[in-house]
Amino acid sequence: MRRLILLTILVGAVPSAPPELRVVVNEANPVSSLSRQEVSDLFLKKTSRWAQLGLVMPVDQPEGAAVRETLNREIHHKSLSAVRAYWQQRIFSGRDVPPLEKDGDAEMLSFVRKNPGAIGYISSSASAAGVKVLEVRM
């Protein structure tokens, strides 16, 4: 009985896994695989052009969305405050503005389907019909 209680406590103490993230692009995009760093550079607008499709149009999910926290941690390797400071510095020095925000997977997918240069991300539970899921080399 003690073992059962201990097991229950241990299982309960394990933090729930973060939502997995899938990076998606328009089906017309010939790119199918990118490194983690390349994906980070696209969302931070350090890389602004696709080789064949012109302007990159990154799209973010709103702050507070679990999948965006996964992007910060797993792709940018930065804290939320560091990413926010990066963008405030860019905005108010006139360097750039953050990606557009789309509220949830459905809006994100709709935008990516319509724009050939778009790149976004969705949670693993969402259907990726009509877009291409990139392989991200970690």
């Binding site: 760093q37 012109g54 804290s79 405050s81 405030q88 510095q89 108010f92 006139g94």
Partner: protein, 373 residues
């Protein structure tokens, strides 16, 4: 305080309370509207005024700015930032057109913020820092940082070297620098009843400068090296400014260190000067909302005519306690213990000097809010 100032302060307060945490995007991001603002109360002792802090208290320290960025095409961008203070003054922080050749190079022409140190381009965005005020030795009314560069700049990313990410900024044109008539006050013959320290704007033409930023493989740590100079200047002789900066931004802990040096030649003896300034600050989030921070700062101005005075010195220890309602709206309370009168001196400076001297020790406090969206 005049009624106009009160009304403006109230408007700022309303804006603070109602500020959205996100920017406004129009036409799928072709036009972005962002903004920031602040309001604060400052108090100081020993008859010394210290920036916004005054011996009888100052409620009128507020400002608000709007940044507009328009994407004209895939490669062309136009932007402007307009700022209004609670004193009724409005100004253009920056306004420019930009052509992005590639990630390696983009050309901007217009009025640009001065890319020097960590905060040269964003000196008034309070949500980017722990203290209500930036260190005055580097970012106050000194000879280091200008309000803006009128001219052009070439900036871009140099890509990755190993796991380091390098970017650069080169600029040239005219720089408007704040200048205070401190040196005039060192000679008793220049003192007259009612005389004050006056901050004027001095234009330094034909400057060239640059900044290189290295994002290190250590998450949150970046290094900068900034400098500018001019071989000629209408008012003074050749001058240059150089300095390194280190910044670490973690989830809870942040720290910054900067050191800058100014070398200036001039026709008049007191125009030949060397200035050293440095600060170290650290801040820590005790909880998601509560942040504490501390800062030590030093500034020394050396005139080559050998003058010495507390008006040429500034040393400061400061502490802050902040409550972040959201990551874009914070209320800050800070206290500064100051030694030296370079930035803490009576408004009626001549009268104080004629009466026998200055008290070089000042205690100043600020409480205020800062926000951005």
């Amino acid at each position: 305080m005049g009624s106009t100032t009160r009304i403006q302060s109230l408007c700022l307060l309303v804006l603070v309370v109602s500020a959205r945490s996100a920017a406004f995007e129009i036409q799928d991001g072709r036009l972005s509207i962002n903004g920031f603002g602040s309001w604060g109360f400052g108090w100081s002792n020993h008859h010394n005024s210290y920036d916004l802090a005054q011996p009888d208290g100052n409620f009128g320290a507020g400002d608000f700015a709007l940044a507009l960025t328009a994407r004209l095409s895939d490669r062309a961008v136009a932007g402007a930032q307009l700022r209004a203070t609670s004193g009724g003054r409005t100004s253009v922080d920056w306004v420019f057109g930009e052509w992005r050749f590639s990630d390696l190079a983009s050309l901007r022409v217009g009025i640009l913020k001065h890319p020097i140190g960590i905060f040269g381009e964003v000196p008034r965005v309070g949500t980017l820092r722990p203290f209500f005020l930036l260190p005055l030795g580097l970012y106050g009314s000194t000879e280091f940082t200008g309000s803006g560069v009128e001219g052009l700049s070439l900036a871009g990313s140099l890509g990755r070297l190993s796991r380091w990410n390098l970017s650069y900024d080169l600029y040239g044109g005219s720089l408007k620098l704040p200048a205070m008539n401190v040196a005039d006050k060192l000679d008793p013959r220049n003192l007259q009843p009612g005389g004050k320290l006056v901050t004027s704007t001095e234009e330094t033409k034909y400057i060239v400068g640059g900044q290189i930023v290295a994002v290190t493989p250590i998450d949150g740590l970046d290094l900068r090296f900034s400098g500018y100079g001019t071989p000629v200047s209408e008012m003074n002789g050749p001058r240059f400014v150089i300095g390194p900066s280190i910044q670490y931004l973690g989830e809870k802990f942040s720290a910054r260190w900067e050191y800058f040096f100014l070398y200036e030649e001039g026709d008049r003896a007191h125009d030949r000067q060397r200035v050293h300034t440095a600060y170290l600050e650290a801040a820590y989030f005790l909880t998601e909302q509560i942040q504490v921070g501390a800062r030590a700062e030093i500034y020394r101005l050396y005139l080559l005519n050998g003058s010495t005075s507390s008006l040429l010195e500034h040393s400061e220890l400061a502490a802050t306690f902040n409550y972040w309602f959201t990551p874009t709206f914070v209320v800050k309370a800070s206290v500064q213990a100051i030694d030296g009168n370079r930035f803490a001196a009576p408004l009626a400076l001549d009268d104080a000097l004629l009466a026998g001297g200055l008290d070089r020790h000042t205690l100043a406090g600020f409480i205020g809010s800062q926000f951005s969206f």
